[in-house]
């Protein structure tokens, strides 16, 4: 016989995971950006012909005007820290040892900031308005992390 009283149940746990491989095609626009960092160590952006806003990372269309961003322009390498955080807890999404500095950095000539990391600096010394530049990996594969991080422009 089974006990009809569910209050006496000790609930069980089922442990599992969902593992689904994806192949995300970057598309022509992002591919041109990724080729720029891989082959030439350059940051390339797209510009809206209507409002002249320059988007990095590049997008095919201007979200504001809903027009195609037809023009390519080189931005950076100098960039300014717009905001940042020093991640101190080893959060599950962070694939490296903490502390890790995440930042939004706006490359010179761009109207938007791009999300990346700050390195080669004491995390306590990072500040809004700080000048930085990308540090590229020696071996590059056409991936956002071909930029290892942004580092202080001086020194």
């Amino acid at each position: 016989m089974i006990d009809q009283d569910l209050s006496k149940v000790t609930p069980q746990v089922y442990e599992s995971k969902i593992g689904v491989p994806y192949t995300w095609w970057a598309g022509d626009t992002a591919t041109r950006f990724l080729e720029g960092i891989r082959d030439r160590g350059e940051l390339w952006a797209t510009r809206c012909g209507k409002c002249s806003r320059t988007y990095v990372p590049p997008r095919k269309n201007c979200p504001g005007c809903f027009e195609e961003n037809a023009e390519w322009v080189q931005v950076g390498p100098g960039a300014t820290v717009v905001t940042f955080t020093v991640a101190r807890r080893p959060l599950a999404a962070i694939p490296d040892p903490v502390p890790v500095v995440f930042a939004l950095v706006k490359p010179d000539g761009a109207d938007t900031a791009m999300l990346h990391r700050i390195g080669d600096v004491d995390p306590e010394k990072v500040s809004i308005g700080m000048r930085v530049k990308p540090r590229f990996a020696a071996e590059r594969k056409g991936h956002i992390r071909d930029i290892e991080c942004f580092v202080p422009e001086q020194g």
Binding site: L6, V9, P11, V13, S16, I18, Y22, W24, A26, A30, L34, Y55, V56, P57, R59, P63, G64, V82, T83, F84, T85, V86, A87, R88, R89, L91, A92, A93, I94, P95, D96, V100, F102, A103, L104, K106, T112, A113, M114, L115, H116, R117, I128, H143, I144, R145
Partner: protein, 380 residues
Amino acid sequence: MEKIAIIGMGMTKIEANKVSENFADMAWEAVNAALADAGMDIKDVSNLITTSNDFWDGRTISCMAVGDSSGAREKNCSCVEGDGTYGAFYAMARILSGSYPSTLVTGHTKGSESISSLITNAAFDPIYERSLGVDMITASAMQARAYMDKTGTTSEDLARVSVKNHGNAKNNPYAQLPMDLTVEDVLASEMIADPLHKLDCSPVSDGCCALILADEETAKKFCKKPIWVKGAAFCSDAYFLGDRDLAKPKSLVAAAKKAYAMAGITEPTRQIDLAEVYDAFTYQELMWAEGLGLAEYGKAKDRLKNGDFDISGTLPVNASGGLLSGHPVIAAGLYRMAEAVRQLRGEAGANQKDGAKTAVVQGLNGLCGQSHCVWVLGNE
């Protein structure tokens, strides 16, 4: 606009880890509570909207799986992926179409079953961003810093939000984290991602909330104290964080403007009696209060310090304890709406704002408040 009312609400207690109820069991509890509250039978509701997120449920088309315990069988049931306030908006639109006298809306999340950092990391662009390792907390930390830099808001100011909301939760039977805290306690808690301490962040939570919306005729038939929708609107900003000025809640200002215009609110600080806002992090309560016009930009910290946002103040914000005291992600905005309903019915017990007639509720979707959904509710 036709009159639309909230005529029933049901909340499960928000808990860190509900072991006795799976996601569907939570819906069963909340839906039955909402039906009982409205004095309705499931047969009185012709249709429903469920709100859920497949990643958090660990199940694709999970809206289909939650239907059986929500009363969806042989009914018109549809789903919203996002915050519950957006599900409620869809429910309202259905009723306004004239084809549905009432609509049941639910929202559920069991945050305890997965790893929020990995789930929110997956909200970032896979080509340009995701591999960097950013998640909701670190992204919000960047927004907090941008806001503090622009407004002069300090860590002590943020801590006061945590002290107030965890204190308010002491009188809320549905809250997960009632706590007596001091500003020093918050500042001494673990620094997760500067400038956000552990006690600046909402917890991982399980919970389900259900509301029943109805047209005027149905509301008057079933409900003694219908709470009326005076205005509702939502608005989106850019997806990429770097496209936005993260220090300013632009899309919230736009959504509030529309909702207030519908509700005839011209002076929110005078005409609104209380607010329930999406305080996933302490700084967000201040930013969103400003976006809702409850304080000038950068001045919410002063109103908070002055006690204006306390339950005993002129404009209580998150008298319920807010999300800092329990944050079932997708259900979060529906909980805010339900808490406002409790207040407007005069049923909020020790947390009651005396004579509350008009409340504003805000939900959001996307990283760092990309989109906001604003509701103005009233009891007259």
